[in-house]
């Protein structure tokens, strides 16, 4: 105990205090800087833009949070997302073609996609949990497989002819206000020329966020979450404590694919299409978000809420740079730099950073 108190003094102490909370300050700093130099950034429109872009990265990062805490990594999430966007689009178009009504086609299409979408995760889990294939290899293979199948299904193009209703749901907002006239929920009302429509909270963001809240709770407060941390901390200890590690790993990778699948369905609803590579750019982003959130590639650490902060650091950066007129490539460079920065903090942070739960 003595050495802990000594180390709390001076610069070291400051770093220690700042250490596991730096991402919160970083996010606030971004908000302040972009609000000053880019008018309109901190406006309803600006916020809506960020929230509209958020579901993919939020869900993929949620997937990586669980996986990385167990000491693994899932490289397949981006293309499982693309795969699901293609499968769901294809199914819905087929059902509509069979004469089913639009709403029913969309619902059944989504349900079937959810079932198919967890298959890559199940296979990853079997390979990693049962056959001890390194996660990098197993999920990298799955990346190729899902990418290939998606491209075959859409013959190198993209899935089209989805019913308009899909886009209405996908681009709708939870609250829609026409000032002085109506308030509606989920779907935008028709507006006349000259009328202003205020939209608050995109539907798809709300759905993603419900998953975030639920699984943050699962990770933090349940036996499942506790075992996830234990496996990442010391897999032998977990086995000796009687935890069914093989099955747990399978469940973790299935969850990961489930979140990626939901991201794919959300993409399909939002852009009214299915694209094989729709999730490609989010792979790096989601892993970076998790690492910014204090997770370690060695496993055992990480939290859903800190991952969410990591996601918004990237989303704000993206939107801020875009509004200032920089090409997207700057974002990639900066995200790469932030990843290195975050990993260095992890490397050099004394264990004391993680003193208490």
């Amino acid at each position: 105990m003595d050495n802990i108190t000594i180390k709390k003094n001076g610069l070291h102490g400051l770093l220690l205090q700042l250490g596991n909370k730096w991402m919160i300050f970083f996010l606030l700093l971004e908000v302040i800087i972009f609000s000053i130099i880019s008018p309109g950034f901190f406006s309803l429109n600006g916020i809506q833009t960020i929230l509209n872009n958020s579901p993919s990265i939020l869900l993929l990062a949620l997937a990586e949070t669980f996986v990385i805490i167990t000491g693994g990594i899932d490289l397949s999430v981006g293309f499982v997302m693309g795969f699901s966007s293609v499968i769901s689009a294809k199914l819905i178009v087929t059902f509509v073609g069979l004469g089913m009504n639009d709403a029913l086609s969309i619902i059944i299409g989504i349900v079937i996609t959810l079932c198919i979408g967890i298959i890559p995760g199940f296979l990853n889990g079997i390979l990693i949990g049962r056959y001890k294939v390194p996660p990098l290899i197993a999920t990298f293979s799955m990346l190729g497989i899902t990418h290939g199948i998606s491209e075959l299904l859409i013959e190198g193009s993209y899935a089209k002819n989805l019913p308009k209703l899909a886009g209405k749901i996908g681009n709708g907002n939870l609250i829609n206000i026409v000032p002085g006239k109506t308030v509606s929920f989920f779907v935008s009302p028709a507006i006349q020329r000259g009328e202003r429509l205020i939209e608050i909270l995109p539907n798809m963001f709300v759905i993603a966020f419900i998953f975030i809240i639920f699984f943050a709770f699962i990770l933090k407060s349940t036996k499942f979450g506790q075992h996830t941390y234990a496996i990442g901390g010391n897999v032998d200890a977990a086995i000796r404590a009687g935890i069914d590690v093989k099955n747990h790993i399978i469940k973790i990778y299935m969850l990961s694919s489930l979140f990626a699948t939901i991201a794919g369905i959300i993409y399909m609803l939002r852009f009214v299409t299915g694209k094989a590579d729709s999730g490609m750019v989010f792979l790096l982003d989601s892993i970076v978000a998790v690492v910014i959130g204090g997770a370690s590639f060695y496993g055992g650490f990480g939290s859903v809420w800190k991952t969410v902060i990591g996601c918004f650091i990237i989303l704000l950066l993206e939107n801020g740079l875009r509004m200032l007129g920089f090409p997207t490539f700057y974002k990639l460079v900066l995200v790469g730099i932030i990843l290195i920065f975050a990993v260095l903090i992890d490397q050099f942070s004394p264990e004391l950073l993680h003193k208490e739960d």
Binding site: M1, I4, S221, T222, K223, Q226, H227, Y229, A230, G232, G233, N234, D236, A237, A238, R240, A241, G242, I243, G300, F301, E351, L352, H354, K355, E356, D357
Partner: protein
């Protein structure tokens, strides 16, 4: 008197190699037995048959007078045989009480149907068992990684005791510890002994073994080469048994 654990003619082969050959030993409640031998003497293999990691190719195991088949580590735990491994089997990223309850978490219901971890209960119960063993740890909410080697050992031991261990097998319990901490762990061993728990200690540190054990069992090349009550022997004799410098009939 009935033995807590009785091993009769246990044999374990790995291919052509006989790792444990026809070894018998027994231990009573509240007795500390030191299991000694050089590397490769078969101590670990013998112990792993008791903790359910290996299955004997021959011989019988009796626990509290009844023959038992220990076919898994879970089975060993369920009848009250706990093994503390050298690397402690603790998840360093979790706190002390979470480790004590790892795999057997106490849950409580919220909203009548959702099971969540009952942190307060686990914290309180862990505190009780640590108090009973007179173990001091700054905070049970601290992650294991900030605890010293001795404190970690104490947490691992508390965990066994909390889950009602009747027989505790300790593999090199003092190997990675400083002198003061070694002493504390040995005191803890005596404390457990006084509470009626049978303890088998595997150690290379003769001093440690001599300071706590009642009896020594010495193995060499898979065979039991000697058994001594602690007051009837001395370190020199034990060393010569371990290295085989002296032929002694059992």
């Amino acid at each position: 008197m009935e033995y807590l654990l009785e091993l009769k003619n246990l044999t374990k082969r790995f291919g052509g190699l006989v790792a444990v050959n026809n070894v018998s030993m027994e231990i009573k409640e509240g007795e500390v037995v030191g299991l000694l031998g050089d590397n490769g003497a078969g101590k670990s293999t013998l112990i792993k048959m008791v903790s359910g990691v290996y299955h004997p190719d021959g011989g019988q195991i009796f626990f509290k007078g009844k023959e038992v088949k220990i076919d898994s580590t879970r089975k060993a735990l369920s009848i009250g045989i706990e093994t503390l491994y050298q690397d402690l089997s603790l998840a360093e990223n979790l706190n002390a009480y979470s480790n004590i309850f790892l795999g057997r978490e106490k849950l409580k219901k919220i909203l009548k149907f959702i099971n969540i971890l009952d942190h307060d209960y686990m914290h309180e119960e862990s505190k009780k068992v640590l108090d009973r063993l007179e173990i001091e740890i700054p905070s049970l909410r601290n992650r294991i990684s900030v605890l010293s080697g001795g404190q970690r050992q104490a947490v691992a031991i508390s965990r066994s005791i909390y889950w009602d261990a009747k027989l505790l097998i300790m593999d090199e319990p003092t190997a990675a510890l400083g002198v003061a901490e070694q002493k504390k762990v040995l005191e803890l061993v005596l404390k457990l002994k006084s509470q009626g728990i049978g303890i088998i200690i595997i150690s290379h540190q003769l001093y440690d073994v001599f300071s706590v054990a009642d009896r020594l069992v010495i193995m060499r090349r898979g065979e039991k080469v000697g058994e001594r009550n602690i007051e009837e022997t001395n370190p020199d004799e034990v060393v010569s048994l371990i290295v085989g410098a002296e032929k002694v009939k059992q």
